[in-house]
């Protein structure tokens, strides 16, 4: 009888130790990723943006992006008009990890774009944070965030998938696929006095469709300094 008790006790102790050490691993992993992103104080990037939302017909346009620590980000179209889902595209990993504090929970492993990843759930500690929960898929060997699923208070849930190239050492992606639920966005009716017959076709096209914004970065200028006025 005492032998069984001892085995149960050892088992419970083992579970506790393993879980605790995993939590420590995950916190350490997130800290390392953050440290990598911290190498970048500011950057200016140029690239192309493609908007793929069923009810928006927009041409592919050249864009310019600006980032400055701790969480300032601006996306600017190089001439022309740009339409972006609110809050989402201006969100980046630097913003999330720069938040005052977070609790990291290990959620196992997974595979994203043929890369083995550690799944980490991040819970911001502050009550006033817009982000409620963020799930990160981290490539442990390269300390890169491959994918994130973020739920916010104001702007719903959105997914970001990133692929890296020559700026991987700074944790900066070459491509970002940003997707969100386009069904949640409603267009006002009749505001332009236009009542065309395309409603049914568009509605059919929109069924279950996710909105997507694809940004392909062609170059970064890192740590060259950016004036604060640019973000106003």
């Amino acid at each position: 009888m005492s032998g069984i008790k001892l085995k149960v006790l050892i088992g419970l102790l083992w579970i506790f130790v393993v879980q605790h050490s995993n939590a420590q691993d995950v916190n350490e992993l997130v800290r390392k990723v953050k440290a990598k992103l911290d190498l970048v104080n500011d950057y200016t990037a140029v690239g192309k943006m493609k908007t793929d939302v069923a009810f928006i017909k927009a041409p592919v346009g050249a864009v310019k992006m600006f980032f400055k620590k701790p969480d300032r980000f601006k996306l600017q179209r190089n001439g022309g008009i740009s339409v972006l889902p609110k809050g989402g595209v201006s969100f980046n990993m630097g913003n999330l990890l720069a938040a005052s504090g977070f609790t990291a929970i290990d959620a196992g492993t997974g595979e994203v774009a043929k890369t083995k990843t550690r799944i980490v759930k991040l819970l911001p500690n502050g009550d006033n944070n817009d982000v409620i929960l963020s799930t990160l898929y981290i490539d442990e060997s390269n300390l890169l965030i491959i994918k994130s699923v973020t739920t916010t208070r104001e702007n719903g849930t959105f997914e970001m998938e990133m692929s890296y190239g020559k700026y991987a050492t700074y944790g900066l992606p070459d491509k970002v696929y940003f997707s969100f639920n386009a069904k949640d966005y409603k267009l006002p009716k009749g505001i332009t006095l236009e009542f065309d017959d395309a409603d049914k076709a568009i509605k059919e096209k929109m069924k279950g469709k996710k909105g997507r914004v694809e940004i392909i970065y062609s170059g970064y200028e890192i740590n060259k300094g950016i004036a604060d006025q640019l973000f106003k």
């Binding site: 600017q76 008009i81 889902p85 267009l187 332009t192």
Partner: protein, 291 residues
């Protein structure tokens, strides 16, 4: 016929009412431009209120191309009245003044005289549209600058690249010209039946109003005749401002979403012009002119 066309144009541009139309258009466009220049930001905020809760829009929405689109939407409903003022007076005006019989004593066929009158009305219509293009498009471009054209249709948003807009306006104005010439042809046809100008002018506007209502109402009984009404096709200049997208939802620059709709509408409007003018000629050739 060229000499007769020149005489008819002289008659049109000698009348003060001709310039009334140009003055009215100048005033209307000026008022719209002034309003949007002063309070344009509030206007766009109001129009975009619901959309802006979900999306952020960056860029100069209130540019010359957008202003011209708004002007065309508002003006092309009222321009038929200004065209009817002249076109519906072409034959009835002569009859009213008692100069029609005298006119027909000239050594020219009735067809040639009638065609010269119709072409004069067409020239007036085209000049009116050119004036709208100068005031509505070119002046707006100067006052508000240029950028991409942002349009909110009933089910979707279209952003036309700046470099892809101007030719669309050229096409839209050509189509609008065809639509307005149809109105001129209707007024010209109706002017044959009266001996004073008011009747054909009111009749032209009445036909346009009734046909527009029938074109707008979504009642199955009228749906069968809708495709044959010229008013159902007059607004299809807007088709120039919608483009195709590929499977990846990328805009195909230089394309039109429904080119066949434009071609079909153009054919129907052209058929109406031939019908109205042809009927007027046939009836006029057989008519016993007493005034």
């Amino acid at each position: 016929m060229w000499t007769h066309l020149q005489i008819e144009l002289y008659k049109i541009f000698k009348r003060p009412r001709t310039y009334l139309a140009f003055a009215a258009i100048t005033a209307l466009i000026g008022v719209i431009q002034l309003g949007l220049k002063v309070d344009g930001k509030e206007y766009t905020e109001f129009v975009m209120a619901d959309f802006a809760t979900s999306f952020s829009v960056d860029g100069n929405i209130l540019n010359g191309y957008f202003i011209c689109y708004v002007i065309l939407q508002l003006l092309l409903v009222h321009v038929p009245l200004l065209i009817a003022l002249i076109a519906a007076d072409m034959i009835s005006g002569e009859a009213n003044m008692g100069t029609l019989r005298l006119l027909l004593t000239k050594p020219q066929s009735r067809t040639a005289i009638l065609l010269a009158k119709f072409f004069a009305a067409v020239v007036y219509t085209l000049l009116l549209l050119i004036w709208i293009a100068i005031m509505g498009l070119l002046c707006s471009m100067l006052i508000f600058g240029t950028d991409d054209l942002f349009l909110m249709k009933s089910s979707y948003v279209v952003i036309v690249k700046e470099s892809d807009v101007f030719w669309r306006y050229a096409g839209a104005f050509c189509f609008a010209a065809l639509a307005m010439v149809t109105v001129a042809a209707l007024g010209f046809f109706l002017s044959f039946f009266a001996e004073n100008s008011i009747g054909p002018i009111v009749a032209t506007m009445s036909v346009i109003v009734v046909c527009t209502i029938l074109s707008t109402m979504n009642i199955p009984l009228f749906n069968t005749i809708k495709p044959f009404l010229f008013t159902s096709h007059m607004n299809n200049w807007k088709e120039f401002f919608d483009f195709k997208v590929n499977d990846a939802n990328e805009a195909i620059i230089g394309s039109i979403q429904n080119p066949q709709k434009i071609i079909q509408s153009s054919c129907i409007l052209f058929a109406h012009i031939i019908g109205f003018v042809g009927s007027a000629i046939i009836l006029f050739r057989k008519k016993d002119i007493l005034s």
